[in-house]
C-alpha cells in the first residue's frame, strides 16, 4: 500500500481547503476534497497490502526504556478497513458536493471531512496503541467539529460538545488500558504484544483488566451502553457526516480496536462475556427505541447503535471475523440509508419527521429504489449483504461457550425489530400519500451516483463471507483475514447453521410483513398503537436515559462545581487567606482607639506600664 500517499492526500486536502485556498463555492471545495479522498482510495487499491514492504516510522518520544514511534503499516485487516473507509469516504465526499451546494463557507466542511479521513486512516494504520490513540482522538475532534458545523445553532454546538465529552470518558478508560498494557507487555506495539501473548503466560486477572479498560474506550467511540447517548444527538451534523462518521467508519473504531487486540481479548474470557452482554443489551435497547422514533435520522442513529451492539456481541463471543464482516456490510447499507435519508431530507427542504413524508416513491424514484435495497439489506433478507454478516454473528453467538442460546434468541429478536422498524421508516417515507407541505424533488446526480454504488455494494458485499456450509462460494473474507484474526471458532450450538439461517430468514420476513401491513397504510397502526401506548411512551422517550443522566450525573456535578466555584473557593479558601489581613485590619482598628491624641491618656498608659515593669523586675529580684 502506498502508505505516504494514503495518509498525505487527505491531510493535504484539508490544509488546502481549510487554510490556503478557502474556496468560495461548495463545488470547488468539494472537488478538491473528493480528489484527495479518491487519491487515498486509489493508493489503497493499486497495491495490495505488503506487510514486509517496510513500514515507515520515526521516533515520537523516548523516555527511559519507553520508546514510542510514529509508524504505519498494513496487514489484511488494515487493508480492508482502509478500503472501506476510503471507498465509502470518497463516495460521501462526492455526495456532499451536491448536498452542501447551498452552503456558504462549505470549505470548512470539506476541510473537516478530509481531516477526518486522515485521522481515521492514522487510527487504522498505526502499529501501536498510542499511535492508534492519536487517530482515535483526532476522529473525535473532527466529529465534534462536524456535528457542530452549523454552530450558530447553540443546540448543535452542544451536541458536538456532548459527543466529545462522552467520548473522552471512554478515552480515559482507553488510556488506563494503555497503561496496564504497557505494564504487562513493556511495549505498545500491536505485533509485539501479539507475539508476547503467544509465547508467554500472563496473569489472567490483569489481562482481563487491560481488556476491560480498552473496551471502555471502545464503548465511548462505538456508542455502547452506558456511553451511547452521544450518538443520537450527533445527528445534528450534516447528514453525509452522519453517514460517514456516525454510521460507517468512526463508530466502528471500537470494533477495530478489539479486533486489533484480539489476542488479548481471546484470553480475557470474563471481559469478553461482559462485552457480549453489553453488546446485546445495547442492541436490544436501541432497537426498541428505534421502533418509535419520528425523526428519520434518529431511527437510523438508534439502528446504528443497535447494529454496533450486535458487532460487540460477536466480539464478546470471540467471533472477530463476524464483527469485521458486519462492519463492512453495515458500512455499505447504513451509509446508503443515511445518504438516502439525506436525499429525502434535501428533497423535503429539511423536514426530518417521517410522519410528514409519505408518497415519495414517485417523486424520488432513484432514492426510493436505493433506499429499498438498503432496507432489505439491513433487514437481513437473503441474499443481500446484511443477511450473511448478521447470520455469521448470530451463529457465532449460538455456538458461544456460555449463554449461547440466550444470546442467539436475543440477537434474533434484535434482527426482528430491525427489520420491523426499517420497513416502518421505509413505508412511512415512500408509500401512501404525501403528508407534508413542501415540494419534494429528486436530488442531483452527484448525490444519486454514490447511492447506486452503495446499493450495489449492499447487494454483493455479503458474498465475500458466505458460510462454507452452503457450498456456494468459498468464504473469501475468512481466507483473507485469517492471518490476523485467526480461524472462525467452530462450536456446536442448539441448531445447525442452515436451520439457524432459516429461522432468521423467516423471522425477518415476518417482521417485514408486519411492518409493511401496519405502515403502508399508517391508519392500520392506530389500533395496536393504542394498546401498546405504555410501551410506546417508554420507547419514544428513549427509556428516559438522557433525563436520568441529567438528574444523576450532570446536575449534581454542575452543582458541585458551582459550590466550589461560587462558595468554597472565594469564601473558604480565599477567606482563610484573607483572614490574616482581616485580622491585621481588626487589630489595627482596635489599636487606633488607643491613639486618642489626649496627653492625659498617654500619661495614664505610661504610669500603668511603669508599674507593670516594676512588678516584673521586683518578682525577678525576689525569685
Amino acid at each position: 500500500m502506498m502508505m505516504p500517499l494514503l495518509l498525505a492526500a487527505p491531510l493535504i486536502g484539508a490544509i488546502v481547503n481549510g487554510l490556503i485556498l478557502r474556496p468560495a463555492t461548495a463545488k470547488r471545495a468539494g472537488v478538491i476534497a473528493s480528489i484527495a479522498a479518491l487519491t487515498s482510495f486509489a493508493s489503497v487499491m493499486v497495491q495490495h497490502f505488503a506487510p514486509d514492504a517496510g513500514p515507515f516510522e520515526w521516533t515520537w518520544f523516548t523516555v527511559g526504556e519507553l520508546t514510542v514511534k510514529w509508524s504505519f503499516a498494513s496487514d489484511p485487516l488494515t487493508w480492508m478497513m482502509c478500503a472501506v473507509v476510503t471507498g465509502i469516504g470518497s463516495l460521501i465526499h462526492i455526495y456532499s458536493i451536491g448536498y452542501m451546494s447551498h452552503e456558504h463557507n462549505a470549505y470548512r466542511y470539506f476541510a473537516y471531512l478530509n481531516f477526518f479521513l486522515f485521522n481515521m486512516l492514522v487510527l487504522i494504520t498505526s502499529t501501536s496503541l498510542l499511535g492508534m490513540f492519536v487517530g482515535w482522538e483526532g476522529v473525535g475532534l473532527c466529529s465534534y467539529l462536524l456535528i457542530g458545523y452549523w454552530f450558530e445553532d447553540i443546540n448543535k454546538a452542544k451536541a458536538g460538545m456532548k459527543a466529545f465529552i462522552v467520548n473522552r470518558i471512554g478515552d480515559a478508560g482507553f488510556l488506563i488500558g494503555i497503561f496496564i498494557c504497557y505494564q504487562l507487555f513493556k511495549t505498545l506495539n500491536f505485533a509485539e504484544i501479539a507475539k508476547l501473548l503467544d509465547t508467554q503466560t500472563f496473569d489472567v486477572r490483569m489481562l482481563n483488566l487491560a481488556a476491560f479498560f480498552l473496551f471502555i474506550g471502545a464503548m465511548g467511540k462505538s456508542a455502547q451502553i452506558p456511553l451511547y447517548v452521544w450518538l443520537p444527538d450527533a445527528m445534528a451534523g450534516p447528514t453525509p457526516v452522519s453517514a460517514l462518521i456516525h454510521a460507517a467508519t468512526m463508530v466502528t473504531a471500537g470494533i477495530y480496536l478489539i479486533c486489533r487486540m484480539n489476542g488479548l481479548f481471546l484470553v480475557a474470557q470474563d471481559t469478553s462475556l461482559f462485552i457480549a452482554i453489553i453488546g446485546i443489551s445495547t442492541a436490544l435497547l436501541s432497537a426498541l427505541i428505534a421502533t418509535s422514533q419520528r425523526d428519520i435520522k434518529k431511527v437510523l442513529a438508534y439502528s446504528t447503535v443497535s447494529q454496533l451492539g450486535l458487532m460487540f456481541l460477536a466480539l464478546g463471543c470471540g467471533a472477530y471475523l463476524a464483527a469485521i464482516f458486519h462492519v463492512m456490510t453495515h458500512a455499505f447499507f447504513k451509509a446508503l440509508l443515511f445518504l438516502g435519508s439525506g436525499s429525502v431530507i434535501h428533497a423535503c427542504e429539511g423536514e426530518q419527521d417521517i410522519w410528514k413524508m409519505g408518497g415519495l416513491k414517485k417523486k424520488l424514484p432513484s432514492t426510493f429504489l436505493t433506499f429499498t435495497i438498503g432496507t432489505i439489506a439491513i433487514a437481513g433478507i437473503p441474499p443481500l449483504a446484511g443477511f450473511f454478516s448478521k447470520d455469521m454473528i448470530l451463529y457465532s453467538a449460538l455456538t458461544a461457550k456460555s449463554y449461547g442460546t440466550t444470546f442467539w434468541i436475543l440477537g434474533l429478536l434484535v434482527s426482528f425489530l430491525t427489520a420491523f422498524y426499517m420497513v416502518r421508516v421505509w413505508a412511512l417515507t415512500f408509500l401512501g400519500e404525501y403528508r407534508g407541505d413542501k415540494h419534494p424533488h429528486e436530488s442531483p446526480a452527484t448525490m444519486l451516483i454514490p447511492l447506486y454504488i452503495l446499493a450495489f455494494g449492499s447487494i454483493v458485499a455479503g458474498f465475500l463471507g458466505m458460510p462454507e456450509g452452503l457450498h456456494l462460494l468459498p468464504n473469501y473474507l475468512e481466507a483473507f483475514l485469517h492471518p490476523v484474526l485467526g480461524p472462525l471458532v467452530e462450536g456446536h450450538g442448539a441448531l445447525s447453521e442452515e436451520r439457524a439461517m432459516a429461522v432468521a430468514t423467516v423471522s425477518a420476513i415476518i417482521a417485514c410483513s408486519l411492518g409493511f401491513y401496519f405502515y403502508s397504510k399508517p391508519e392500520r397502526s392506530e389500533t395496536p398503537g393504542k394498546i401498546l401506548v405504555p410501551f410506546k411512551t417508554v420507547f419514544e422517550n428513549k427509556f428516559w436515559v438522557d433525563e436520568l443522566y441529567g438528574l444523576v450525573i450532570v446536575k449534581p456535578f454542575d452543582a458541585l462545581c458551582a459550590f466550589f466555584a461560587k462558595f468554597f473557593d472565594p469564601n473558604i479558601i480565599d477567606g482563610l487567606v484573607l483572614l490574616p489581613s482581616k485580622a491585621a485590619q481588626g487589630m489595627g482598628s482596635l489599636l487606633v482607639l488607643l491613639q486618642t491624641g489626649i496627653v492625659q491618656t498617654y500619661l495614664l498608659f505610661f504610669v500603668f506600664g511603669l508599674l507593670v515593669l516594676f512588678m516584673v523586675l521586683l518578682k525577678g529580684v525576689v525569685l
Binding site: F151, D171, C561, F564
Partner: protein, 508 residues
C-alpha cells in the same frame, strides 16, 4: 563573545535595555524592547546550539564572579538540563509578551522597562548557581510584576497586586529562613560559608526533632516547599492566581502563566528535593494528593467561571497539578512528563492569554456573556482559538498530550490509584475548554457590538504564529527538544535520592 559570557548577556542585556528604555520616547521604547527581546531569541539560540546534551547533568557555560568573598557568595550563572528548557521558554515568550503590549496607552517606556527587568530577573532565577543570587533574582521578579499588575491592570488592580505580593512574599520569607539555616550549616559542616547551591545538597541534617515531630530537614523542606507551592500554585495556595491573572495586562498574564508559575516547580526540582530528599520522600504522598486535588478542583472551578481569564487561571491550577504529580511520581517518566508539561503549559497558556487579550483589546470585556457566535465573524481568530484549545486539552499530535501522557504513565507506575483518579482530568479538561470555546465562538451573535469585530491583525499573527508552530512541532517531534536535556532527567532521581533510604536501584 565567548561562551563564558553568554549567560551573563542573557541576564544583563534586558536589564541594560530597561535602563535605555527610560531615555527613549514612548513610541520608540516599544520597538526597542522588542529588538532587545528578539536579541534574547538570538542569544537563546546560541545557548540552544551550544548546550552539550551529552553533559546535560553538569552546569555548563558557567560564569562566576566573586561577589561577597568573605561569605562565599558569588555572582554565579550556569545552565544544566533542568534549567535549560525553562530558560529557552522564558526567552521565547518575551517578545510575544512585548508584542501583546504594543497598544498600551499609559507610561509606555516604564511599561517596557518593567518587562525587561522581569526578563532579567526570570532568566537570572533559572540560571543562578548561588543561593543568595538566586534569592535576589527571585525577589527582583516580584517588583516589575506587581507594577505590571498594579499600574497597567484592570479595575481591581491594586488589590490584586498587593495580594500577589504579600502572598508570594510570605512564602519567600519561609524560604529565606531555610536558606539562612542552610547557610549557617555550610559554615558548621563544610568549614566555610558558601552560597553555592551544589554545596547545599551535600549538607547533612541532624535527626533531632525540633517540634511537632519535625526535624531540621523537614523544616528546611517545608520552608522551600511552601514558597514554591504558592508560586506553582498548588491547591489550596492558589487563590492569588485568579486575581492576579484577571487584573494583569495581557503581557503580564502571558509571562505569569508561562514562566513565573514554573518557578515553583523549578524550585522543587532544584532546591527542595535535592537539599532535603528524605523529607521529600516522606511528604511526597501528601504533595501528590494536593496535586491530584488541584488537577480536579482546578478543572471543576474553571468549568463554572464566567470570566475568560479566570477560567484560564484555574485551568493553570489544574495543569500545574500535573507537573507536580509528575515530580511526586519519583520516576523518569513522571519527571520528563512534568518538564514537558511545564514547557507546553507555558506555550499553550501563553497563547490562550494572547487570544483572550485580543478580544479584550477590541471589546474591553472578558466576560463570556458579552461574546458568543464569534466564529461567524472572526474566522481566523476562531481557528486559532479552537487550535490552542485543542492543545490545552491535550489532543494527541499537539504539544499538550505527550507531557500529560508521561505524567499519567509515571503516576501509574508510582501508584495506580493516582493514575485512575487523575485520568478523569482529561474529561474535565475537555469540559471546561470546550465550554469556553462554545460560549465564545458558537451560538448566535447575541451582542450587536461584536458584529464589527476585526479579525487577527498582522501584529497579532506575528505574536501567535511562533507559538502555533511550536504547538505542532513539540506535539509531533518532542524528542528533538527532549533529547537536548533528557540526560538530566534520566539520572535525576538516582542522584537526588542517593541520600535517602530508598535504594537507588529501585528508583527508575
Amino acid at each position: 563573545m565567548g561562551m563564558e559570557h553568554l549567560l551573563l548577556w542573557l541576564v544583563t542585556l534586558p536589564l541594560i535595555g530597561a535602563l535605555v528604555c527610560f531615555a527613549l520616547t514612548d513610541e520608540l521604547s516599544k520597538y526597542f524592547a522588542l529588538v532587545v527581546t528578539l536579541l534574547g531569541w538570538v542569544l537563546a539560540f546560541f545557548v540552544y546550539q551550544g548546550f552539550d546534551s551529552a553533559h546535560a547533568t553538569q552546569l555548563q557555560m558557567v560564569f562566576n564572579y566573586p561577589w561577597l568573598n568573605s561569605m562565599g557568595v558569588s555572582f554565579g550563572l550556569g545552565i544544566d538540563g533542568i534549567s535549560f528548557p525553562l530558560v529557552i521558554l522564558t526567552k521565547l515568550m518575551m517578545p510575544i509578551a512585548i508584542l501583546a503590549s504594543f497598544n498600551e496607552k499609559k507610561f509606555m517606556r516604564f511599561f517596557m522597562s518593567c518587562y525587561l527587568v522581569l526578563d532579567s530577573a526570570m532568566t537570572g532565577t533559572f540560571l543562578a548557581t548561588d543561593m543568595v543570587l538566586f534569592y535576589v533574582f527571585w525577589e527582583l521578579m516580584l517588583i516589575p510584576m506587581i507594577l505590571l499588575i498594579g499600574v497597567w491592570g484592570s479595575e481591581q488592580r491594586v488589590f490584586a497586586s498587593v495580594k500577589f505580593f504579600i502572598y508570594t512574599f510570605a512564602g519567600s520569607m519561609l524560604m529565606l529562613a531555610s536558606i539562612f539555616y542552610l547557610f549557617s550549616q555550610t559554615h558548621v559542616q563544610l568549614g566555610q560559608y558558601t552560597g553555592e547551591i551544589a554545596a547545599f545538597t551535600k549538607l547533612n541534617f541532624s535527626p533531632v526533632e525540633v517540634f511537632w515531630g519535625l526535624n531540621a530537614e523537614k523544616l528546611v523542606f517545608l520552608g522551600f516547599f511552601i514558597a514554591f507551592a504558592i508560586k506553582v500554585p498548588l491547591f489550596p495556595l492558589h487563590t492569588w492566581l485568579p486575581d492576579a491573572h484577571v487584573q494583569a495586562p495581557t503581557g503580564g498574564s502571558i509571562l505569569l502563566a508561562a514562566v513565573l508559575l514554573k518557578m515553583g516547580t523549578y524550585g522543587l526540582l532544584r532546591f527542595a528535593i535535592p537539599i532535603a530528599p528524605n523529607a521529600f520522600v516522606e511528604f511526597s504522598t501528601c504533595v501528590a494528593y494536593l496535586a491530584i486535588i488541584g488537577i480536579l478542583y482546578g478543572a471543576w472551578v474553571a468549568y463554572q467561571q464566567k470570566d475568560m481569564k479566570k477560567l484560564v487561571a484555574y485551568s493553570s491550577v489544574s495543569h500545574l497539578g500535573f507537573c507536580v504529580l509528575g515530580i511526586c511520581s519519583m520516576n523518569t517518566k513522571g519527571l520528563t512528563g512534568s518538564m514537558l508539561q511545564m514547557v507546553n503549559h507555558g506555550i499553550t497558556t501563553g497563547a490562550l492569554f494572547l487570544l483572550v487579550g485580543m478580544l479584550y483589546e477590541r471589546r474591553h470585556t472578558k466576560k463570556f456573556e458579552d461574546y458568543g457566535g464569534l466564529a461567524a465573524i472572526v474566522p481566523y481568530f476562531s481557528i486559532l482559538f479552537v487550535f490552542v484549545a485543542c492543545s490545552s486539552m491535550g489532543v494527541p499530535g499537539l504539544n499538550g498530550f505527550v507531557g500529560e501522557f508521561l505524567v499519567f504513565m509515571g503516576a501509574f507506575e508510582a501508584n495506580q490509584t493516582w493514575a485512575f483518579v487523575t485520568v478523569t482530568g482529561v474529561v474535565f479538561g475537555a469540559l471546561y475548554t470546550l465550554t469556553m470555546v462554545k460560549k465564545t465562538l458558537f451560538g448566535p451573535v447575541t451582542n450587536a457590538e461584536n458584529r464589527s469585530l476585526k479579525d487577527v491583525t498582522l501584529k497579532e499573527w506575528a505574536a501567535i504564529l511562533p507559538l502555533c508552530i511550536l504547538i505542532v512541532y513539540l506535539g509531533l517531534a518532542p524528542n528533538s527538544f527532549l533529547s537536548k536535556f533528557n540526560q538530566s532527567l534520566d539520572t535525576y532521581w538516582a542522584e537526588t535520592l542517593k541520600k535517602t533510604a530508598l535504594d537507588a536501584g529501585t528508583v527508575k
